[in-house]
């Protein structure tokens, strides 16, 4: 569909003109406090990010209060400014309160005159069983073989309520041994290598979720290499954060199917290794129960980051928010996880 629209616009663009309209000054908008947090009750600490709008800035003089079931548990005033990273434009406040499923958590944020708050109930985790098997596939163009690891994740929906979930799969290859590492380049631009005893950890994989009913919102597609496949064929956008609701298996068991693709990584597995002491692939599978707002927020984020989102044609997205008196989102998740370790060649 997207191609059709583009072609249509292209055809008409032969006679089209572009003009600009000045946008109203941003200064007319009031400054607001932005509170963002995606809190996982199974990890401590968690982070609350505070920013202000108009002008956009991070908040270092803020205060964050945590109340659990109506009781003030924690007050944080020390902000940590993230530095030396590309996204270092936020100040975060570390919170260490331990939350439990079913807790009603309220987070208040203050900065100067501003006060924003959000309240959510911590969702209950569900258990799951994971099964894996490996399929050897070939690249179309290079004939190079690669491994595709299939995951079958079985779980039961929490009965009697609407539930929202997120699946996280992480794979990493860990190789330990003596490796011929590039250490310097001399004046004549000649590379110098030194044998180093090292461990290289590689996260280089692609999780394919387009075969699953729940993850594609009822539109499973072929296991194809084309990344743009979903958006190109049906206009559906990739569920980048693997969020799903229980509408396809309400109060029932469900078996979710995803696979991973590992791309050829010849330099890592190549001749640079002098000796290899150990090598393994670690898969971490986590199934999170998330709040409804977080579910819709991550869907919106997936959509904006997808190829289906076309400036000018697609309606700009207003991100779901549950923050009162300000902007942002506070999401809670609780999870169960499994670690799978396999030896690799």
């Amino acid at each position: 569909m997207k191609q059709l629209i583009f072609l249509f616009i292209l055809l008409l663009s032969l006679t089209s003109c572009q003009n600009d309209i000045d946008l109203k000054s941003e200064s007319s908008l009031p400054s607001q406090l932005v509170m963002n947090a995606l809190i996982n009750v199974d990890s401590i600490p968690n982070y609350v990010y505070l920013n202000k709008t108009n002008p956009f800035q991070f908040v270092l003089d803020g205060k964050v209060e945590i109340r659990v079931n109506g009781t003030l548990c924690e007050t944080v005033t020390d902000a940590i400014l993230e530095e030396n990273t590309y996204y270092a434009n936020a100040a975060n406040y570390h919170i260490t309160t331990k939350f439990n499923p079913g807790d009603v958590v309220r987070i208040d944020a203050y900065s100067g005159e501003h006060h924003a708050w959000a309240e959510e109930t911590v969702p209950f985790p569900i258990d799951f069983i994971v099964d894996t098997f490996t399929v050897i596939r070939k690249e179309n163009w290079s004939d190079e073989e690669y491994e595709s690891l299939h995951y079958e994740i079985s779980f039961s929906d929490r009965p009697g309520e609407s539930n929202f979930y997120r699946l996280l799969i992480r794979e990493c290859d860990s190789i330990a041994g003596i490796y011929n590492v590039l250490t310097e380049t001399d004046e004549d631009y000649q590379s110098r290598y030194h044998l180093v005893d090292t461990v290289i950890i590689s996260f280089y994989y692609n999780i394919i979720n387009r075969m699953d009913v729940a993850l594609t919102d009822g539109h499973p597609q072929v296991d194809n290499n084309d990344d743009d496949f979903l958006s190109g064929i049906t206009g559906l956008y990739e569920n980048k954060y693997n969020v799903f609701d229980d509408s396809h298996f309400t109060d029932k068991n469900y078996v979710m199917t995803v696979s991973s693709e590992r791309h050829s990584f010849s330099w890592l597995a190549g001749e640079g290794w002098k000796t290899v002491r150990a090598s393994q692939r670690i898969s971490s599978v986590r199934l999170q129960s998330i709040t409804e707002t977080e579910y819709y927020y991550l869907r919106a984020l997936s959509y904006v980051q997808s190829d289906s989102y076309i400036d000018g044609l697609s309606e700009p997205v207003k991100y779901p928010s549950n923050v009162h008196g300000g902007l942002g989102i506070v999401g809670f998740s609780s999870e169960t996880s499994k670690i799978l370790v396999r030896k690799i060649k």
């Binding site: 569909m1 191609q3 059709l4 629209i5 249509f8 008409l12 089209s16 572009q18 003009n19 600009d20 309209i21 000045d22 946008l23 941003e26 908008l29 932005v34 963002n36 982070y47 990010y49 709008t53 108009n54 956009f56 434009n89 936020a90 070939k138 179309n140 163009w141 004939d143 950890i201 590689s202 280089y204 994989y205 692609n206 999780i207 979720n209 009822g218 539109h219 499973p220 597609q221 072929v222 296991d223 194809n224 990344d227 064929i233 049906t234 206009g235 990739e238 980048k240 509408s247 819709y296 997936s302 959509y303 289906s308 000018g312 044609l313 697609s314 309606e315 997205v317 207003k318 779901p320």
Partner: protein, 887 residues
């Protein structure tokens, strides 16, 4: 003796004069007279100066209204008919004297009889919808129904009937009524006359109708409205009516009184049409040559209509000429049309067929390389057969098929001499369209009861097919996907019209529709081959393949009741039931309109209507896309309903002009909007969870001045309107009212045509609309990005647990109001009489002064990095020429 001789001579002279005058009258001596707002005395003076007659009348002879007359080469009798037909004055020509007298009051009569029949075109026998029939004595009137049938009951004795229809010479018939009588009347098309249309109160549109908010769109108006690429378009003429918005500039979309694009019931000969768009909504599917008449209802809906909230557009197709063959050939820049009609059995059976096809695909063909294809086309076919079994019984069979199709095929590969062989082929094809078939049977049970039975079949289908074929030395992969969606409706309905007495006009009937929604069906196949054989051969299907069946039944009853000569009421009720997924929805929808004639020139109307809607259109783009999906209400999503209150004032004091002011307030419940961040874009799966039901309200006031007679015709309208939506607290815009996307505060429409001569006429439309709203990020906010998504490439680094970045801030939906738009369209027609017909060359200039109206708008940054809204104007000044030959 002398006196006797003088008296005898005088009598002889008078007799001689009378004979001369009579001869003059018989010889059809004509006079020319032009009067504006003249009194009776002024009229008499003028008549006496241009004719040899003198008038005789007493003080008791008075006219109700001033005389406006533009008569050229008319006989004295024709002029007198025209001036006095609507007055309580009779005339008698005696010699050289014209005696004027007050019309005698009717003697009370006990017996009443019914006159009924069809009104049709004298040449083609095409029935005329909405022709007016007025009893000159009793001042009662009626209008023909959508099948050209009329019926009304009057006291026995001599009855003078006046038949009139826009563009036709009026006809007066006198009948001595002593029993129920069938009178079929044929009117002569006559564009030379300044049309004298006597509008009856029975018409469903117009100033004298009890209903309000209704407009008749004639094909003359449609064909004389200059439009893009010379493609006369019903929808684009309707857009010029007050209270109608087009949506995207230049498109054929309709947003009526703050309603959505899916809130319009568009009927083709009584059968609902789901998709009325070609070329992504820039043209509509109705070929004007095939259409007889269009009526737009936007306020007091007749009780027989139901199922949509905001408007009813009743499109009626030509029945076909019963007497002789003729047709039209039209060649334009975008498409060509052919229209043919004629008798199959003379005066018994006729056919009417028209077809249109675009030909951009033919024009682009020479520029493509061998094996490659790239094309778009659309076509429409309208066909109708009409058989008259008798004066009482008629059968109509209709067929419509229309389609848009876009497809391409690209090939790529290595040369045959290359060592590494590969070949790549990519095919795509997308098509969508309607097929409608219906059969209707009209039967006159008796002079007071008219019946119409209809059975119909309606199919909307969309498909999207792709196929990829990659072949190399060591592999061969094929992939194919087939996506389909559609709706099938099977329907049957009965309509009756009953006129027991002149003051009551009762309509009743019922309808049943069986819907078969099939929102989405996807089938995909992938096949991998190598030297060892098949590696993979898998067929996938989506779980949206299930069909949704729904039953929709309705019944209605309405009565147009003339309580007094100045007060009439149209009251009715529409009952409906919708059954889907084991859930039943019932609805009683009252409809009331009241009309009060305050003075001869001023009338007041008021109405209340309730409408329910059981289907929704899922679309997330401002333009009409083939992937837009019609879905029925469900257990979760309730039917939409609207209550509309209207009040209007009307004036017809200036002959040839009609003035109206209508105000309205529309309260809509259960209207849908997508939740923040949810896009459908072709997917209906789980749609109930992605929308919010809310509250809508629209209000406005519409001014209209229309000139209906003379060489210059047209209208000027101004609309002041507001339309808003509100959803639950915590939902869209956090429970606050926000403007509807096509909320425009001010709209001005001017449409004018002027006929210089039979060979040359011009048309112009000018529209001005204050800007609609759109959602634009203003300023910045912070969004949190979670851990990495599905694709990861990190080397020797820890995973991040989330970070915050800057993003556009949207305060609320539809937060930005775009600048105003305005556009002038011009058209010139050159007509020439040829040996076998009339040739017309139309030259049109769309957007004549090249106004840079935005078709699409998006946020971007200029060269200095400053945030701007970039507007894309894809419809600048576009000239076009169309050649038409009518034979």
């Amino acid at each position: 003796m002398e006196n006797r001789c003088i008296a005898l001579l005088l009598m002889c002279w008078i007799l001689f004069s009378c004979r001369l005058a009579a001869q003059s009258e018989e010889n059809g001596k004509t006079v020319t007279l032009n009067l504006k707002n003249a009194t009776l005395s002024e009229f008499v003076k003028q008549m006496e100066s241009v004719s040899s007659y003198s008038f005789v009348f007493g003080e008791d002879v008075k006219l109700a209204r001033k005389i406006n007359l533009d008569a050229r080469d008319k006989t004295v009798r024709e002029i007198l008919d025209k001036v006095f037909w609507s007055e309580t004055v009779t005339y008698q020509i005696t010699g050289k004297h014209i005696l004027l007298q007050p019309r005698p009051a009717l003697k009370p009569s006990v017996r009443k009889y019914t006159i009924s029949g069809y009104v049709s075109d004298s040449i083609s026998s095409e029935t005329l919808i909405g022709a007016n029939i007025v009893d000159m004595n009793g001042r009662y009137g009626t209008a023909t129904n959508p099948f050209g049938f009329y019926s009304f009951t009057v006291p026995e004795g001599e009855v003078q009937l006046y038949f009139s229809y826009l563009g036709y010479a009026p006809k007066k018939q006198t009948v001595n009524l002593s029993k129920d009588t069938v009178m079929n009347v044929q009117l002569n098309a006559d564009n030379q006359l300044a049309e004298v249309v006597v509008v009856s109160k029975r018409a469903e549109s117009g100033l004298l109708a009890t209903q309000m908010g209704a407009n008749e769109i004639t094909m003359e108006q449609v064909e004389s409205t200059p439009v893009m690429l010379g493609e006369a378009d019903i929808m684009k003429t309707i857009q010029l009516m007050p209270g109608i918005q087009s949506g995207v500039e230049g498109s054929a979309g309709l947003h009526v009184r703050g309603g959505g694009p899916d809130q319009n019931l568009i009927l083709l000969d009584g059968v609902p049409v789901y998709n009325v768009d070609h070329l992504l909504g820039f043209f509509s599917v109705f070929t004007p040559e095939a259409v007889k008449k269009v009526t737009l209802f936007k306020s007091s809906f007749p009780a027989r209509f139901g199922g949509r909230l905001s408007s009813v557009i009743d499109v009626r197709i030509n029945d076909g000429d019963m007497k002789k063959y003729h047709g039209t050939v039209s060649i334009g820049l975008l498409s060509s049309k052919l229209h043919l009609e004629g008798p199959i059995i003379k005066d018994r059976t006729s056919f009417n067929i028209s077809a249109r096809r675009s030909y951009a695909d033919f024009l682009i063909k020479p520029f493509l390389t061998d094996g490659d294809k790239f094309a778009y086309y659309f076509y429409d076919v309208n066909a109708k057969v009409n058989h008259k079994f008798s004066d009482r019984s008629r059968l109509f069979v209709n067929f419509y098929n229309g389609k848009d199709k876009f497809y391409f095929t690209f090939n790529d590969g290595s040369d045959s001499n290359d060592d590494a062989f590969y070949h790549y082929r990519d095919e795509m094809s997308i098509g969508w369209g309607n097929t409608i078939a219906s059969m209707r049977w009209n039967y006159i049970f008796n002079n007071k009861l008219f019946g119409n039975a209809t059975v119909s079949y309606n199919k909307y289908k969309m498909f999207y097919e792709i196929k990829n074929d990659d072949e190399g030395d060591s592999y061969h992969t094929t992939y194919s996907s087939d996506y389909r969606s559609g709706i099938r409706d099977y329907g049957g309905k009965m309509d009756f019209e009953y006129t027991p007495v002149p003051t009551h006009h009762i309509k009743f009937g019922g309808e049943y529709l069986y819907h078969n929604f099939r929102p989405e069906v996807t089938t995909s196949q992938i096949k991998d081959l190598n030297h060892n054989g098949i590696m993979q051969d898998t067929i996938y299907g989506s779980d949206g393949n299930s069909q949704i069946y729904a039953h929709e039944a309705s019944a209605y009853l309405e009565d147009n009741y003339d309580i007094t000569p100045t007060l009439s009421v149209n009251a009715g009720i529409h009952l409906s039931m919708f059954h889907v997924q084991k859930k039943n929805y019932f609805s009683g929808q009252p409809r009331v309109s009241v009309r009060y004639q305050m003075t001869d020139d001023w009338a007041l109307k008021s109405s209340y209507t309730k409408m329910n809607q059981y289907v929704h259109l899922l679309t997330s783009m401002p333009i009409s896309l083939p992937t837009d999906l019609w879905v029925p209400v469900t257990g979760k999503i309730k039917p939409m309903r609207a209550h509309q209150y209207s009040l209007g004032v009307y004036n017809s004091g200036l002959e040839g002009w009609e003035f109206s002011i209508e105000s309205y307030y529309k309260d809509m419940r259960n209207v849908l909007e997508y939740k923040d961040g949810v896009s459908f874009f072709g997917s209906s799966q789980g749609w109930e969870d992605k929308v919010e039901m809310g509250h809508g309200r629209s209000m406005g006031i519409e001014f209209m001045a229309q000139k209906t007679m003379g060489k210059t015709k047209g209208w000027l309208s101004y609309t002041l309107a507001k339309s808003e939506r509100k959803f639950a607290k915590g939902g869209i815009s956090d429970g606050e009212w926000f403007p509807y996307k096509y909320d425009r505060r001010h709209t001005i429409n001017l449409s004018a045509t002027h006929k210089f001569s039979d060979r040359f006429d011009i048309g112009a439309t000018w529209t001005f609309a204050s800007g609609n709203t759109m959602t634009v990020p203003m300023g910045s906010t912070a969004v949190i990005l979670p851990e990495w998504g599905n694709f990861i490439f990190i080397y020797n680094s820890d995973e991040k647990t989330g970070y915050v970045t800057e993003a556009g801030y949207i305060a609320h939906r539809n937060n930005y109001r775009l600048p105003s738009t305005h556009r002038l369209n011009l058209g010139v027609n050159f007509h020439k009489k040829k040996k076998y017909g009339i040739r017309t060359i139309n030259i049109s200039l769309y957007n004549a002064y090249n106004s840079m109206n935005p078709n699409f708008v998006y946020k971007d940054y200029d060269n200095q990095g400053k945030e701007v809204l970039r507007k894309l104007t894809i419809l600048p000044c576009i000239p076009s020429i169309t050649y038409t030959y009518k034979f």
